[in-house]
């Protein structure tokens, strides 16, 4: 079961919009961290994903395990938020 979802985004990132649209269509709530507005949280996004790219979607399960999805990757995003 999904406990919460956090997406790291930027203002100009089209793939971020796609992730948000997908979650919206599936009725999955999420917290958005816009790195243009919160550059101080860039290091956190980089630590979680090991990359310097967005979107980074962090799905936290009820048992506190985390799945980190880099980019707009439906093959990973869909199953991660399905349960």
């Amino acid at each position: 079961m999904t406990k919460n979802v956090t997406i790291f985004t930027t203002n100009t990132c089209a793939y971020c919009q796609m992730v948000k649209k997908y979650l919206g269509a599936k009725g999955v709530g999420y917290e958005e961290v816009n790195l243009d507005e919160h550059p101080d949280r860039q290091a956190e996004a980089m630590r979680l994903s090991g990359t310097m790219t967005v979107p980074v979607t962090v799905v936290t399960k009820q048992d506190e395990t985390q799945e980190v999805i880099i980019g707009y990757n439906l093959a990973r995003l869909a199953p991660a938020v399905a349960a």
């Binding site: 930027t10 100009t12 089209a14 550059p39 860039q42 990359t51 310097m52 790219t53 967005v54 707009y72």
Partner: protein, 320 residues
């Protein structure tokens, strides 16, 4: 999508870029049952471009994301369905073509291939190793990670110039490495002058990138060659814009003929060499790689597809 019954459409459009979405606006408006398949971003490359200054109707330019969203809304207003997934193969079954997709099979009387193209890699050591950890292909996606940092941009065409200009809002300095001479338009070159004068950008022509070097934290330098001189550019990241490669691999085992690079050959009606399969936009051989022309080709294809669906034979021309 229902697994047991194969859905049937008049038209499946592969790719929701400006070409595909324009075609869908035309066909759905004329009640042609249309499904658009998109494996990436709705809006295509237009959606990942920061600002578009040369698409008619927008005197102050338009943000790529905004144009993409408006194209989608306009297509959906007339009933276009957009399915997020990839078309992986097409087979001819007479009246219908069978499309294999990541959401199952689909049957369609006509198919418009509007799959555009993807960024080319340069193929130097370090490019793959530091992918997304210092080597990037999308400025609007990853530029924000380089606030007040040094960057190297590789490429000398319109995209490289446009993206370099975009990246100046973040980077402290950009070295633009152009392998031979500059191919960007005069307008972009003139715009770039401002950034060169402000010492934000230094352009290095006849400079071939040889290696991207880094450590556990990411990229640290780019090694290049200028005639018989070896050069080193200290940097925190690299953005590569060295051209595009057509998304036509899924047509390999079909009757659709491609040119030597992989762009789809069509006639003036946007018909390919496989009956019922049309192509428009950047993926088409001879395309001018502009949003306005992609939209125009999408409209032409839509009108020709209507004639095809009405059973009006389109003359086969030599070019295809």
């Amino acid at each position: 999508m229902n697994q047991t019954e194969v859905p049937k459409y008049d038209l499946v459009v592969v790719g929701a870029g400006p070409a595909g979405l324009t075609a869908a606006i035309y066909t759905t408006r004329e009640d042609i049952k249309t499904l658009v398949f998109e494996r990436g971003v709705v809006g295509g490359l237009a959606a990942v471009t920061d600002k578009i200054d040369n698409y008619p109707g927008f005197p102050d330019g338009v943000a790529g994301l905004k144009l993409a969203d408006d194209l989608r809304l306009q297509a959906e207003r007339f009933g276009t369905e957009i399915e997020l997934g990839e078309v992986t193969a097409i087979a001819d079954e007479g009246t219908y073509k069978r499309l294999s997709t990541t959401s199952g099979d689909i049957l369609s009387k006509a198919v418009l291939v509007a799959t555009g193209s993807d960024y080319k890699k340069i193929g130097v050591p370090g490019e793959q190793e530091y992918y997304a950890r210092g080597v990037h292909y999308c400025a609007t996606c990853d530029g924000a990670f380089y606030r007040d940092k040094r960057l190297v941009v590789i490429g000398g065409g319109n995209s490289a110039f446009q993206e370099t200009i975009f990246l100046t809002r973040y980077a402290s300095h950009i070295d633009l490495l152009v392998r031979s001479t500059i191919k960007a338009s005069d307008v972009l070159q003139k715009e770039m002058e401002t950034y060169i004068k402000a010492a934000k950008v230094t352009v290095h022509t006849n400079t071939a990138t040889e290696k991207i070097v880094g450590n556990a934290n990411g990229v640290t330098e780019v090694l290049a060659r200028q005639a018989d001189k070896s050069l080193s550019f200290k940097t925190d990241g690299v953005f590569v814009f060295v051209g595009l490669t057509p998304n036509s691999q899924f047509l390999k085992n079909t009757l659709v003929r491609l040119d030597s690079i992989g762009f789809i050959l069509t006639d003036d009606h946007m018909q390919t060499t496989m009956p019922g399969i049309f192509a428009a936009g950047d993926v088409r051989s001879g395309a001018t790689m502009q949003i306005a022309s992609a939209a125009g080709e999408g409209a032409t294809a839509a009108l020709k597809i209507r004639e095809y669906l009405e059973g009006r034979p389109l003359p086969i021309q030599d070019e295809a």
